[in-house]
Symmetry: none
Subunit: 164 residues, 2 copies
DNA sequence: GAAAAATAGGTATTTTTATTCAAATATTTT
DNA sequence: AAAATATTTGAATAAAAATACCTATTTTTC
């Protein structure tokens, strides 16, 4: 229980560097590195990491990490490796339409970002909704785009003045 | 046995347009369309199509078609067409409110539709978010409802002129 | 700092998925 | 067209993965 973070990281590396066809197999590889957990735990870990099992050309199956974006997102949520809490790396663009802002992120980043915006309890932002790669944020009616940008700049690598 | 090709095609569409969490579920959807096969066959079909099951944001699982490149290879071998289904059968209604459009679909169809809208990269549509039966799409500020309808008409069985 | 809430993880079990085996259907070869 | 070969599939079963339930620990809240 104490080092889930580390375990997830090792799992990612094991999956990246090996052809792992089942959770039991993964379990054995982990055990060899000193992490003894049951299949149940791995099922939960893999769900969290959003790994998937795909058919190989050889007719077997292997676990893969779908794509780097998703991975980093999941690991950020888990507090794995990355240090920065404030700046979201998944940011792609931000645009406004009326009192709404649409923040595009790399796939999988949206919910984490929306969560952080919500948690900041900024009165300028009435609420957010997140999809896989999009955050919709509704602004209070008297809040300008510039003011909103200043709020978002707390989370995103943007300069409060530009729009992109 | 004679129409495996067709079945694979339908499976792809079902997976694209629905949240399917298990092979049994898929089996039922297929059966509703006249394709009665056992779970064993679906396991083999899905292996061939290289679909994978991933965790959703909601804590469930759903099958997805991993990515177009790999997919096309596999499906070309099978003689299955990847051509994007233009008309979404799950469509129920579309309404506008300010710069936002609300598209109602049959249950489960929303994310597939939103995905297709996103993938079209239409500049008129800033972004979409899908629930189970609703897609929320935000329009660029200078885009009229009529223009938006023309965009949506590429996906939905609507005439670019009416609203319903 | 105690109470409450959230998180982590094991065991046992259920649910889901993959495969073995046999048979039927299709395809190719001669 | 018959024989040989390959493909498709279901039934049964094996294998794998997910989860219900419970307990312990950590984190948050008051």
């Amino acid at each position: 229980m104490k080092n889930k973070r580390l375990r997830l990281q090792i799992i990612v590396e094991l999956i990246k560097n090996n052809c792992i066809g089942s959770q039991d197999e993964l379990s054995r590889l982990l055990a060899a590195r000193g992490y003894v957990v049951t299949q149940a735990t791995l099922s939960r870990d893999l769900k969290q990491l959003r790994t998937t099992k795909v058919a190989t050309d050889l007719g077997n199956y292997m676990y893969i990490i779908p794509d780097t974006n998703n991975l980093q997102d999941t690991m950020l949520q888990q507090g794995v490796s990355t240090a920065q809490a404030g700046q979201h790396t998944g940011f792609v663009s931000i645009q406004f339409s009326g009192h709404a802002a649409v923040i595009k992120t790399r796939n999988g980043y949206a919910s984490g970002l929306a969560y952080d915006i919500d948690m900041s309890k900024s009165p300028e932002i009435l609420g957010t909704i997140a999809g896989a790669d999009t955050v919709f944020a509704l602004l209070r009616e008297d809040v300008s785009h510039e003011e909103a940008m200043r709020v978002f700049a707390r989370f995103l690598p943007i300069t409060p003045g530009e729009e992109a």
